[in-house]
């Protein structure tokens, strides 16, 4: 068994939050609120630390001339540009027009473009998978092909039929598989949480 201090903390916090959820009590509510605020502060601190760590890491890469210099320059310049736009004297923070321009004109289109490229790269990967003669990959590609046909945006009776079949595939077989996976994940999460709270490690098995 591990030392119970962290597990005990998890149990106490969990029980407090559950009790607050079930019982109307002002003191309990204030304690739960304090815990939630603490979680928010920790999350915000972790996010800031992650950005600082990324900037420091890439800055060090640049100074020591190691790794990918182009990537390092882009990361450092990107963080710097956004920080200057939002934090310069007189700026309006995240709502500043300069920040909005950077987001609307650069960040969002570039991000969407990267996802758009997935269309080409996924087609290439699917093609290579079929040519590799892997049976599972071939089955996957056959299903993908059928899905693409079902998504064709035709009007009229043909289009209505395609959309009807497409809706059925989403709501019946695919939903059934997803639900099975989710139920499995939920059971494993519950087991893992119980083991954590009880301080049971793999060595105890």
């Amino acid at each position: 068994m591990r030392r119970p201090s962290v597990s005990a903390l998890v149990v106490i916090v969990g029980i407090l939050l559950l009790a607050d959820f079930l019982v109307v009590n002002e003191s309990l509510g204030q304690i739960a609120s304090l815990i939630v605020d603490l979680a928010i502060l920790v999350a915000a601190g972790a996010a800031l630390a992650a950005v600082a760590s990324l900037a420091a890491r890439r800055g060090t890469d640049l100074v020591r001339q190691r790794g990918d210099p182009v990537g390092a320059v882009l990361v450092v310049v990107g963080i710097g540009a956004m920080a200057v736009a939002g934090l310069r004297p007189g700026a309006d923070g995240a709502s500043d027009p300069a920040v909005r321009w950077l987001l609307a004109a650069l960040v969002i289109p570039i991000g969407a473009t990267l996802f758009g490229l997935l269309f080409v790269s996924t087609l290439g990967a699917a093609r290579r998978s079929v040519l590799s003669r892997d049976r599972t990959a071939t089955l996957l590609v056959i299903v993908a092909l059928v899905s693409l046909v079902l998504l064709l945006p035709f009007g009229g009776e043909l289009g209505a039929w395609l959309r009807s079949v497409s809706g059925w595939t989403l709501e019946v077989p695919i939903a059934a598989v997803f639900r099975g996976l989710l139920v499995g994940v939920a059971i494993l999460t519950a087991v893992f949480a119980a083991r954590t709270m009880l301080g049971i490690s793999p060595r105890d098995d």
Partner: protein
Amino acid sequence: MGLLLRAAPLGLLLLLSVGWLLPQPSGLTLAARASDIALRVEATLDAMPESPVVVVGFDPDIGTYPEIRPAVRALLADLLEREARLVLVNVTPEGRALLLAEIGRLRASSERAVMVDLGFVAGAEAALVALSRTAPAPDAPVALRAQLAADGIAAADLIVVVGGNEIGPRTWVEQVLPRVDQLPLVAISPTVLLPELLPYVESGQVDALIGTPGDGAAYRESVASTPGAAADDRLVDRLALLLGLLVGIAVLGQALGERILPGLRIGGRGERA
């Protein structure tokens, strides 16, 4: 043949460009079967009181947002047309970035719109729990500010969730709805989330879900006659979509055909290797 394969992405881009530039043919549509989704959304919105307070949890992903953007813009325009007071909040940085762009567009298109921006709240699920207790809104009109401070999200008449992979309708159902006395919830999410969200729709926890581009197109068509709604956004280019899908079908079909009938092979040994 190798040159042809290398030039294929450029050819695809040219083809899609042609699809964007040509007029949209009338025989193509994205609208889903029947428009029961649109009817459910409209019924939920119709049940709201006059000048309702609508909390909008806006946390889509940059990658999947283009899929739901037309429906999101139509819904926001529809809500503003109903004189809803929008209380906007993000708990993800990506959602914040996308919302800032949308706020600028909405303010430019509707000067009389009442929009209260709660900003980005760190903590994801913990942030939602905190907001269900109290939602500080220093820039809100006095009465609404007091309501939000006292009751948090429960001060709203409706919750609208624009979801992504990280935070979406499921998180709101789990973290917020039990704490705010089951407010009505309308959600818009990318198709990839649909299978996990359908149980919440069937159980009534999500009152209406626009979960596919087809549902979005159907809803958009239903509000097309509403002044201001959906008028200022570019429609999804059906011809470009059709051409892209046909290219996908052709590439995958050729690969499968090559597997079955070697005579269809266009790649050569190098590619197979």
